[in-house]
Symmetry: C2
Subunit: 156 residues, 2 copies
Amino acid sequence: MDKNELNEEEMRIWHLWKGSFQSIFGRVVKEMSEHTGLSEGDYAVLDRLVLFGNGSLRQQELADSMDWDKSRLSHHLTRMEKRGLVTRKPLDTDRGVQVIITSAGKSALDEAHPIAAKAIRKYFLDQLTDQDMESITKLAERTKTGNSASSETPPP
Amino acid sequence: MDKNELNEEEMRIWHLWKGSFQSIFGRVVKEMSEHTGLSEGDYAVLDRLVLFGNGSLRQQELADSMDWDKSRLSHHLTRMEKRGLVTRKPLDTDRGVQVIITSAGKSALDEAHPIAAKAIRKYFLDQLTDQDMESITKLAERTKTGNSASSETPPP
DNA sequence: ATAGCATGGTTGACGTGTCAACCACAATAT
DNA sequence: ATATTGTGGTTGACACGTCAACCATGCTAT
């Protein structure tokens, strides 16, 4: 096999894998955002705030738990703050910032949960065989890097 | 099982699947763009131009083959044109537009091919067992929609 | 004291994506 | 003649992501 190009079979696998992920994931995300007004990022932020911080986390912890860099999170929180989903409060102990979910954010999250669950079932889980699940699990283990902070059940 | 929420196991599978795709795909794309200056979209456009059109296609055909809407493609081509990777020429038969790869575009594509192949091998193919491949193939078949135009070997 | 560095964040510029509105023109329908 | 619909594409606004530069502050080493 020439290491510098892919044969038919290799291409096929790569594109099937890429294609099914993007198609399935796209449908889930679209259904979520259409029915809740929350983007994937919004949902991830809100879910972590209540799951890991009981409603608030410092910005750096939030960034780590999502594997987002600080800049991305800063921009995203600015947009979310503008929409009233979260608040930011500077800490005095430290130069850190505390991110706090608002009641509007909490409501949005509560509404989003069942919708996300249904979409994930419909487009993903219902299509999986036991073999698929085993395969997914093992591949994830095999390709895991120093996957630090994401040890608990994170959002979609 | 409550249809309105996901249990631990369902969550776990969903996040493993999402996580490994994004991690692997991210590494491939990053390696490609770092070593070639082409984004995933650039590469996809250029590859289809030569593969399906021997160097040129009308814009609508290109859009269909990539499953991009016309607006997305229009914006992307504007940027690519600015960088000298493609040219656009209006057709007189029709109100269509012909998209033509430039020699710079062709060179960039030629350089990108082996780099893409190596990255896809390193981060994806080398990690797959036969069972994974079977699983990927079957899941793709199971979730396929009216998948119209993308019948041939498309780029990353 | 002061220079260097790490921490925690913000900002601006720019590439990428999506949506809705628009435009030019042709083919039909009323 | 005038309106409707379809085709093929552009445009502007705005959400999202990434990168590099910046800022304030505190810690360490000289």
